[in-house]
């Protein structure tokens, strides 16, 4: 598999490490023992859609530019439809929210 790192260009899989599905970290509130809050963390940490199809996931360009990337990939074909820097992505989210 080749990943088109927005910074480094097409690079071999072996340069990257992957973190699995891009799950947002739940927003914590003050009551850390709140059952719903805990449930949302349990869900985010352990449970996965695990789709056979389009999958959004985080990759780290470890032997390259050290960027975390948000990759959109089809888990059936490994075709990669989109790669962007995770930080710009999150950044945008933050700006708009």
């Amino acid at each position: 598999m080749l990943i088109n790192c927005p910074f480094c260009g097409l690079r071999d899989l072996g340069e990257f490490s992957v973190n699995g599905e891009a799950v947002a970290r739940p927003v914590a509130h003050d009551d850390f023992d709140d059952a719903d809050l805990r449930a949302s963390f349990v869900d985010a940490v352990y449970f996965r859609d695990n789709p056979a199809g389009l999958h959004r996931e985080y990759w780290f360009h470890a032997a390259g530019c050290q960027s975390w990337l948000l990759v959109e990939r089809d888990t059936r074909t490994h075709d990669i439809s989109k790669v962007e820097l995770a930080r710009s992505q999150e950044h945008d989210k933050e700006m708009t929210s």
Binding site: L13, G14, G20, A39, Y46, R48, D49, N50, A52, R76
Partner: protein, 416 residues
């Protein structure tokens, strides 16, 4: 027909004309007491034990392709019970016992070969963690031996003891571990279940689960609706996809695990050996091929084929551990679709849907579990309660925090 020396000779003399299909090519009936989805080893074993242990014979196993077309047909056949954590050991040891009596039980030679499973260690820290594991096994009544370097050399003389990047210091050996002929396990269970009346329905894909008022009513398939009092889900790599039909999300990620065979050779490696300084394991099949593999590909995948990066990594490990492999050739490489769970341990549980039971999360290690998983899932389905040996494999362990994480890798499936 029962296989016996007599039948063998008789058929040899009559042009093999007397044999019959090992299982009937069943068509689905309108309804069954129990439908098992997935004709892998686990699904077929479940059906067999439902019939044998609980006399529940109005059972169908529904398989989308040919039986054994999933991981049962593409694993590296290692069986062992050398686990460390209390939740795991009794379960895998139950499995080991079932392997030991399988051939007589099924009247099918599944070539269970207790040739020993040897895990190499390369440092004091690794030795201590193997010792923790081996002692835990012994305490559970499971056999385990801690070998020093010279004892390892006597067992597997061709390991790299001299110029290794990570010298071998010793190994943890389970003599009762070994291999079994993977396809034969599938066929043996299929034949034995069939002989007890179970319908094995191939080329029939489950496309939906019919659930009303929180209760399972049956399954939608490519051959129409099949009613069911209870449904057991044993689809390994497809767990998330089928569970989604019941609206469930699972603590599971699908991954590819590659495996390899070499050309067939006269015997050179007598036991199963695993490398402790990387990811690699190898054994030699009775046919003479070296069967080996390594790390899983790190990304979620349903493609059943691997990457070049892992391919290369496995070969590097191979030569590092056994330099003699260098000139031998890889004949074939393939990938299986494995259901990696978040703590690396399996799940056998009921689901929020009444009558729907789940068995999965076997990662790269569920072949050895085939008999025990079938045994325990059958028990759960028939009795409504978990089998004591599988009592830790519940879904709520993640919320409660009692994960069974042998490797300590945390909720990163690709690291288990």
């Amino acid at each position: 027909m029962t296989f016996s020396a007599f039948e063998l000779v008789k058929n040899a003399l009559t042009g093999q004309a007397g044999w019959q299909p090992h299982w009937r090519k069943a068509r689905p009936k309108p309804a069954y007491d129990v439908v098992i989805i997935g004709g892998g080893g686990h699904g077929l074993a479940t059906a067999y034990y439902l019939a044998k242990n609980f006399s529940i014979t109005n059972v169908a196993v529904i398989e989308k392709g040919w039986i054994g077309s999933g991981n049962a047909g593409r694993n590296t056949t290692i069986i062992r019970s050398n686990y460390m954590l209390p939740g795991n050991i009794p379960f895998y040891e139950l499995g080991m016992k079932l392997w030991e009596s399988m051939e007589q039980d099924l009247n099918f030679n599944t070539m269970v070969s207790q040739r020993g499973v040897l895990n190499l260690y390369h440092s004091d820290a690794q030795r201590d963690s193997f010792a923790r594991r081996g002692n835990a096994m012994r305490i559970h009544g499971v056999d385990a031996e801690l070998l020093e370097r010279e004892a390892v050399r006597a067992m597997v003389p061709y390991l790299d003891f001299d110029n290794a990047r990570f010298p071998i210091r010793g190994g943890l050996l389970q003599r009762r571990g070994g291999t079994a002929r993977h396809d034969a396990v599938v066929w043996g269970y299929a034949r034995a279940a069939d002989r007890r009346g179970v319908d094995i329905i191939e080329n029939c894909e489950v496309t939906g689960l019919r659930i009303e008022h929180g209760k399972i009513l049956g399954v939608e398939t490519t051959q129409g609706f099949v009613g069911a009092g209870k449904v057991g889900l044993s689809v390994a790599g497809s767990s998330s996809r089928v569970a989604a039909m019941a609206g469930m999300r699972l603590p599971i990620e699908a991954h590819v695990l590659q495996a390899f065979v070499s050309e067939s050779l006269k015997p050179v490696i007598d036991c199963v050996v695993t490398f402790g300084a990387g990811h690699f394991y190898i054994s030699q099949s009775d046919k003479g091929s070296l069967v080996f593999g390594g790390d899983l590909d790190p990304y979620p995948s349903y493609a059943q084929r691997g990457s070049l990066a892992t391919f290369c990594d496995v070969m590097e490990n191979a030569v590092a551990m056994l330099p003699m492999l260098s000139r031998l050739r890889i004949l074939r490489n393939w990938g299986g679709l494995i259901d990696m769970s978040m703590d690396g341990s399996p799940i056998i549980d009921r689901t929020p849907t009444d009558g729907l039971f789940f068995n999965g999360g076997w990662c790269y290690g569920g072949f050895k579990a085939t008999p025990a998983a079938g045994f325990c899932l059958a028990h759960f389905i028939a009795s409504g309660d978990p089998h004591p040996a599988a009592a830790s494999y519940r879904l709520d362990r993640f919320a409660r925090g009692c994960v069974i994480d042998e490797k300590g890798a945390g909720p990163s499936p690709n690291l288990h």
